[in-house]
């Protein structure tokens, strides 16, 4: 099994001067992902999907439960090993690149301190795979549109040749045209490199187009986990019905 998540719980604690506020972001979440699968995590705001994404990307600690990659606990991977397994793409392309760094420096970070001799050709190839040219390297992020920035972010994630890309609402801040082109890029890289993608989104139509399997979350729990064809067949759950109606609009 590529990824196993068991009984995962996470509570955010907001310490106040008197007492504290607690918010259960995830409670008892469990699912697994096979190699070759494409998965979408769907839910509204506050459903815990971003928290889940950040935990499986090791950006966030969790309170209880297990997260395992290749049967090995996520906490036992060191940061270098882990960076070759999972990379993340974020919702806001405008904040995804350091505004003070040229694109070249941002991308070179993927190689760490020991830059390989063929770093330039790897970057060139990766940029080509997301439909960008080499000449963008000497520019600053503010010279690019949101769609272009998101492509650069995808390229940066791909340089490490990760096994999995967690894409947290990658289309949400983009116009329709850019949404489509990023979705096409995702499809292409999946086909060409075999990288797995977990798409975290509130947009069901994107998820339906994109993945074979869907997980629907609400209030920190998984309420449905099924293949894309089956998932909306039974409309017993009020939340799923709501989601469907909102999609039909």
């Amino acid at each position: 099994m590529f990824l196993e998540v068991e009984n995962l719980s996470k509570t955010y604690t907001d310490k106040k001067f008197f007492g504290e506020n607690k918010f259960n972001a995830l409670s008892g979440v469990g699912f697994s992902m096979k190699d070759g699968e494409s998965l979408s995590v769907i839910g509204g705001s506050g459903s815990g999907k971003t928290t889940l994404g950040r935990i499986i990307s090791k950006l966030l600690d969790f309170d209880s439960g297990n997260v395992k990659y290749f049967g090995k606990d996520i906490k036992s991977y060191n940061i270098d090993e882990f960076s070759c397994i999972v990379q993340m793409i974020f919702q806001n392309p405008y904040a995804s690149l350091n505004p003070k760094l040229k694109i070249r420096s941002s991308l070179l970070e993927a190689f760490g301190a020991k830059k390989p001799l063929n770093a330039d050709s790897i970057i060139e190839e990766t940029l080509k795979s997301v439909g960008l040219e080499n000449k963008i390297l000497d520019n600053f992020p503010h010279q690019f549109s949101g769609g272009q920035r998101q492509r650069i972010a995808v390229a940066r994630a791909l340089i490490k040749k990760p096994k999995l890309i967690v894409a947290d609402e990658p289309f949400a801040s983009l116009d329709v045209y850019s949404q489509n082109s990023i979705a096409e890029i995702f499809k292409d890289i999946r086909k060409n490199t075999g990288v797995l993608i977990i798409l975290i989104t509130h947009d069901i139509s994107a998820a339906v187009k994109f993945s074979d399997r869907m997980i629907i979350m609400n209030e920190g729990k998984i309420i449905k986990d099924d293949s894309s064809e089956n998932i909306f067949k039974e409309k017993e759950d009020a939340y799923i019905t709501d989601l469907l109606t909102s999609m039909e609009i």
Partner: protein, 271 residues
């Protein structure tokens, strides 16, 4: 950089500060008299060709004293602002980046510092130690970093959760690089603005201290000190108070104008 010269008010400020810095650097060549030499036959002489800004109660040339006073004001202003920026930035960065206990300790300490009326704290410290220009610089620097520390902390808190920092973390970028390449350059604009305004503030505080006799000690001169001497003779020798007063006003105003302009210029560029 070009934008700041296009901004008229900032340009005036820069030109004025440049002139004052020039005067401070080349004081011995500009001052027509030795600032400490007394000529009792010329006591409280009104502005004339020989003494363009008049003389003080000991017959010293006010213009020469002000020229040398520019050295004190500039030195105090820049050094105190440097110290302010250094302390404020380091504490703010540590507090915001590491969080937890270091954050609590630093922020409570900042709160305590904010509770003191700074000027009286400075007075107390100066009265306790020897009042001289070095102590003045250090004490002003040590007491005026609180606002900056809070600003930097707030900026760091927001920047360290930005996606580009998270993305770099995912790429296994080291902590030092995260700190110095990703976070620090993105909090630099408020620091620059604060520094420009802090220079003006420090000059004002130095003048206030000198006015109260706790700043620069005679025979060295500073603008605040000339002002203080002038207050005894304000009815008979207005030039003793008016010229240094105007100079302090314009210098501090210039730094504030530069600070304001920098704020306008640096802010919209953010991401």
């Amino acid at each position: 950089m070009k934008k700041i010269f296009k901004n008229k008010t900032a340009f005036i400020g820069i030109v004025f500060i440049a002139i004052v810095v020039f005067i401070a650097l080349f004081a011995p060549f500009i001052a027509p008299y030795d600032p400490a030499s007394q000529d009792l036959s010329q006591r409280l002489a009104a502005p004339s060709k020989a003494h363009i800004l008049g003389t003080d109660d000991l017959g010293r040339d006010v213009f020469s004293r002000m020229v040398y006073g520019a050295r004190v004001s500039m030195a105090v202003g820049f050094f105190a602002a440097f110290l302010t920026v250094l302390i404020g930035t380091i504490l703010g960065m540590v507090s915001g980046y590491f969080g937890g206990i270091s954050d609590s300790v630093i922020m409570r300490f900042t709160d305590i510092m904010l509770c003191f009326p700074t000027f009286f704290l400075i007075l107390l410290v100066i009265a306790f130690f020897e009042p001289n220009i070095y102590n003045v610089m250090i004490v002003i620097g040590l007491t005026s970093w609180t606002g900056l520390a809070r600003i930097v902390r707030a900026e760091v808190l927001s920047i360290r959760e930005r996606e580009f920092v998270l993305a770099s973390k995912m790429l296994a970028v080291g902590k030092l690089r995260l700190f110095f390449v990703h976070i620090l350059p993105n909090v630099i604009s408020p620091i620059i603005v604060y520094a420009a305004i802090a220079v003006g503030g420090a000059i004002l505080t130095e003048s206030g201290l000198s006015f109260l006799g706790l700043g620069v000690q005679p025979p060295m001169s500073s603008w605040g000190q000339i002002l203080m001497q002038g207050k005894d003779y304000i009815y008979v020798a207005w030039w003793l108070s008016v010229f240094p007063g105007i100079l302090i006003l314009f210098t501090v105003l210039s730094f504030n104008l530069i600070g304001e302009a920098l704020r306008d210029i640096l802010d919209p560029k953010e991401i």
